[in-house]
């Protein structure tokens, strides 16, 4: 019960601060840009009498690029909206009026989590949905395994949220943001090192990438999502930056899932025990 009240407050805050509205406007601008780009790309390729296969593959690559942008945006939005929620309320003393109510700290945390997951889900559904609908309308194509891919992106955002909530129980808002996005940056770079290493058959570079993914598995969720959603031809030829030169294994996805749960558990534990 207490958790739902806190989830409602979290949602209402986003609405009241016009966060949702602004995210929606930025999202609309994004979709407009994406559709304009795809439209002209398709038009120009047809004008140059390119074969349908090339035009189609170019569109698929463009869609993957759009989805990658959505992935990055969703991750950053998740971190930005939740980064202050614990540390800020602890610092201002706001949390004292909440934590002395007949609601356990776990419920408070769970409520906030539900609120942020809810908002992120709405945001992602609109953004992924926007890209997919516009892409279908312009090119007649839809990504393969869309739901699986979108779920993996969703998991990536939840993973980051859990990490931010955990850091928020201990660090200040700024430190929390630097840590969470810094770790995601590490994973991002690690992912590319692994990709390039695999393309060039450098096993040691691949190992570096895998180590980075173990430290922070967020980006490997995107890479698995990209693998699931990409064009089968591109996958087979191994020619796109989103291709499967080195696909995160199911074990890595399982590890990311455990990582995500572990940080939520740690956040609940730390928040329940700390002095407010």
């Amino acid at each position: 019960m207490g958790a739902w009240v806190m989830a409602g407050v979290t949602f209402r805050e986003a609405a009241r601060k016009k966060l949702l509205l602004m995210a929606l406007m930025a999202g609309l601008a994004f979709i407009a840009l994406f559709s304009t780009g795809l439209h002209f790309q398709q038009k120009d390729l047809y004008a140059r009498q390119m074969g349908p296969l090339i035009v189609q593959e170019a569109a698929r690559a463009f869609i993957m690029m759009g989805l990658y942008a959505v992935d990055i945006l969703a991750v950053v939005m998740t971190a930005l909206t939740s980064v202050d929620t614990l540390s800020g309320e602890i610092a201002s003393g706001t949390i004292q009026a909440v934590a002395t109510k007949p609601v356990s700290r776990r419920q408070i945390l769970l409520g906030k989590w539900l609120g942020f997951v809810g908002m992120m889900t709405v945001y992602m559904a609109l953004m992924v949905g926007g890209v997919v609908v516009v892409a279908y309308w312009i090119s007649g194509l839809t990504p393969r395994h869309l739901m699986l891919g979108a779920s993996l992106i969703w998991l990536e955002c939840v993973l980051l949220l859990n990490l931010v909530l955990f850091f928020g129980t201990t660090f200040s808002t700024l430190t929390n943001g630097v840590l969470a996005l810094g770790l995601h940056g590490l994973a991002f770079l690690g992912g590319w090192i692994e990709q390039v290493g695999a393309a060039l058959h450098s096993t040691r570079a691949v190992t570096v990438g895998i180590v980075a993914s173990i430290i922070m598995p967020s980006e490997s969720l995107w890479r698995r999502a990209a693998f699931e959603m990409q064009s089968p031809l591109v996958g087979a030829l191994n020619i796109s930056p989103f291709s499967n030169a080195s696909v995160p294994s199911k074990v890595m996805i399982g590890y990311a899932g455990l990582y995500m749960l572990a940080f939520l558990g740690l956040a609940a534990r730390r928040f329940s025990r700390r002095d407010l």
């Binding site: 019960m1 706001t94 004292q96 009026a97 909440v98 934590a99 002395t100 109510k101 007949p102």
Partner: protein, 308 residues
């Protein structure tokens, strides 16, 4: 500790809190009876706020034990019966006064219908009726304190803990806090008042504890009869035998001609003392108890060195 818990609202035994190297509360042993208005006094940094936070489960004690309304501290359910005003009340500033109380009411698990009744009542009580649709962002410090007070009374608690409730309030606001505390007493509610405004405490509290370095130095009743009282006496024809006989009531006697100053154990003994003097043939002109102000008591018990 169980047997006494139905008479006690708060009981603590050697409650201790250490933050890193710093001992915030040394060992707090305290009993607050039900329906009592209890003042918690001490210099800044005496550990008052930390003690209150331990009672509310906000801060985990390093050692010792404590029960609130018969339940061990940290119990979630017992908070349904407690109201709390933090020292500097802050809340989501994008909420209106009305919405704030709605959120708090739902956190208490109160039914919607009950809240619809209680919220306007409470807003009127704390003088914010006209500002019910105003956002907290636009509230002054005093208004925030008032809405904080309303929030602490929302669930009609059995125990209200007020941490410096009058900070930021003008005289009218302070009067309001005093009246509200009195109304709680009539309801049979226990009030723990944490304050350094001695005048405030003097007029509202039944009993006070003086604390320093997180230890109770002394706790005492505040009504007129309680405690040692200094008495000014003017009398003639007081024989040395009669004077010596005063020791039955007085711990200290000094004289200056026909003027005497006595310290008696309790003001309750004064009628007896007067009768004694008259029976011994003394001419009694004046017998005046001098109640020590709380400030005198505070300085006597806690000392003049300020807290840090």
């Amino acid at each position: 500790m169980n047997h006494s818990s139905d008479k006690l609202a708060i009981e603590t035994r050697r409650l201790r809190k250490v933050f890193g190297q710093k001992v915030a509360v040394e060992g707090l042993t305290l009993e607050v009876r039900r329906s009592e208005i209890f003042g918690f006094l001490g210099p800044n940094g005496a550990g008052k706020s930390t003690s209150v936070k331990m009672l509310l489960g906000l801060v985990v004690p390093t050692a010792g034990e404590a029960r609130v309304l018969g339940q061990p501290v940290g119990d979630v359910e017992v908070r349904r019966r407690i109201g709390f005003l933090p020292e500097h009340f802050r809340f989501y500033d994008w909420l209106t006064a009305e919405e704030l109380l709605g959120v708090h009411g739902r956190l208490y698990g109160m039914a919607h219908g009950l809240l619809r009744e209680r919220i306007p009542e409470l807003l009127e009580l704390v003088g914010l009726g006209e500002h019910r649709r105003q956002r907290l962002r636009e509230f002054s410090k005093g208004m925030l304190q008032r809405i904080g007070l309303a929030q602490a009374l929302l669930n009609q608690p059995e125990l209200v803990i007020l941490d410096e409730p009058t900070s930021g309030l003008d005289p009218g606001g302070r009067r309001l806090v005093r009246d509200i505390i009195k109304a709680q007493r009539e309801r049979g509610c226990t009030v723990l008042l944490n304050s350094h405004l001695l005048g405030e405490v003097e007029v509202t509290c039944d009993r006070v504890a003086f604390i320093k370095h997180g230890r109770v130095l002394e706790s005492r009743r505040l009504d007129a009869a309680a405690g040692e009282t200094r008495v000014r006496l003017r009398a003639r024809n007081l024989g040395s035998e009669t004077l010596a006989g005063l020791e039955r009531w007085a711990t200290e006697v000094s004289s200056n001609g026909e003027r005497f100053t006595l310290t008696v154990r309790s003001a309750d003994t004064l009628p007896e003392l007067a009768r004694y003097l008259i029976e011994r043939g003394a001419d009694l002109y004046e017998l005046m108890p001098e109640k020590k102000s709380l400030e005198d008591l505070f300085l006597e018990i806690v000392g003049t060195e300020g807290g840090l």
